[in-house]
Amino acid sequence: MSQAVATPTATKEFTLWQRVYGWITNPWGKPRFLVLITWGYIVWSIAPVLIAIQFSFNNSRSLTVWHGFTTKWYFSDPVDSIWHNASYRGALNQSLKLAALDVLIATPIGVMLALGLARWRGRGSGASNFLMLFPLVTPEIVMGVSLLLLFTQLFTFVNTGTLAQVLGHVTFSISYVVVIVRGRLFSIGRSYEEAAADLGASPSAALRLVLMPLLLPAIVASAAIVFAISIDDFVISQWLSNGANSTTVPMLIYDATRATPLPSTDGLATVIMTITLITVVAGVAVFRMFTRGEGGRGSAVDDVAGFGM
């Protein structure tokens, strides 16, 4: 009986505000307001995209009111489905073509540049390093304007269109390859190659048989990243395009947002997003598979986080 009386008097010492404050700051655990902000942020950053994916399956032309599930915007609608609409298919084609060419050209150039910049100590190496970093911080519109003027005023033999777009994409991709591969080069160190040389390997054998296999995961990962940033690129593709036959998916989405987007616009974005995510996940998986057992700290997540930068 006395206990039942004592308990309320004990809690009475805390006002409502103190209790709310105590619950939010949670002094003996994780601060709850940080938990709320973090998960709130995560939901806010991802939910809109999930809703856009949902409306690509909407059984109506509306992007705001749900009318039931259909896949007609992907396959069966004779005019506006991704499968039947020529401009959608053309844009998908162009995006994939640019990304593939970008990977094929930028990856070898970037890998060689990474090797060169990491080990070349001499006149010009500092300036080259500086030059390599600049594309990473140059606003895309500045690159777009300068490449457009290069191709229209100086190198007039390059017409805007696919060729100009590929040249532009490679230009902003090289630095990403260099950053990723160089990071791997530093973590490998030179001792493996020196051991190979001590055991009688020629320089070319040391390169081919020791360094290349060790670099392979980073090369694959950087190829995946280049594919992803190329396929998601909008600004350079737009500035260097010459109209309908060099329109990419992001350009099509941009045009649609300024007119009337359809569920198939969401669908096209969903297709491109799926391709990007599969590529990146595959790239990271390969990277992890090859570097497993090296005893390095961190997880696949840290690698992705590193690639993000």
């Binding site: 307001f33 806010w44 519109i141 003027l149 947002t257 300024r258 491109i272």
Partner: protein
Amino acid sequence: MYPRWLWPAFAIPGVVWLLILFLLPFYAVIGVAFGNIDPILQTPIPAWNPINWNTGWVAHVLNELTPGGVYWDVFLRTIRYVALSLGGCILIGYPVAYYIARHASRTKSLLLILLVLPFWISYLMRMLAWINLLAPGGYAARFLSFTHISDLLYHMGLLSQPNNFLGGQSFTVIFALIYGYIPYFILPLYASLDRIDRSHLEAARDLGASPFRAFWHVTLPLSKTGLLGGAVLIVLPMFGDYYTPNIVSGAPTTSMIGNQIDLYFHGGPQPTIGAAITIILSAFLVVLMGYYMWTIHKSSKELVA
């Protein structure tokens, strides 16, 4: 063990590529900006030789960038939008990065994956998603009007009309800029917070600092490089943004300096003026970047001393 010429030889293709397709194009911009305009065709006549440079167009643009000029309002608006978006990114991003670096234990991997996910979703798709949500009748638009938040924003002067989110609203543009760029801000910040040695904090607490004082005098200064790095990473591209305002607003009342450049190339016939604005914007950004490098250099020296 390798011949001396090998590494420079490896670097050559990449360096040459960047010289021709990254550095040389800036010269093309300079040539056009300091050139003339054909009086009949209105096409640019570039001046490649510095002796023939005509500073008239750059001077004209600089003049219009001063108070009372045509671009003054656009310039001020750009700075305002970028500053407010950066402020929003810090307010939302710092607690998130801090929580994941310091407190998330079991959920850390999951949170990091979710944090990186937006990187691999096209920027355009993320904007398209908000168009769907904020269009009349969209989920977010209905929620905001049902909860009367839309009226509140209207009475606070943040929306020019209640329940109109996509028709030239500065509020929506800033919101979209924050949404678009914040992932690039959080990640470097997270990396710098994650690197902080916890023993510094324990020392501060052992010496009697309150949690707030420990944060203010230990965590915050140690995360300064990450904070500045993240800020630079989003501020530079934001100054060149034109697609975000075009997508979520499309009205001239929300145009930024990037829209002005876009207009001269894609809307109007005068690339010369567009090139002149590009040069001035680049010079402005180089100054910003220089300030950042100087700060980093200074703080790394302080750390050693």
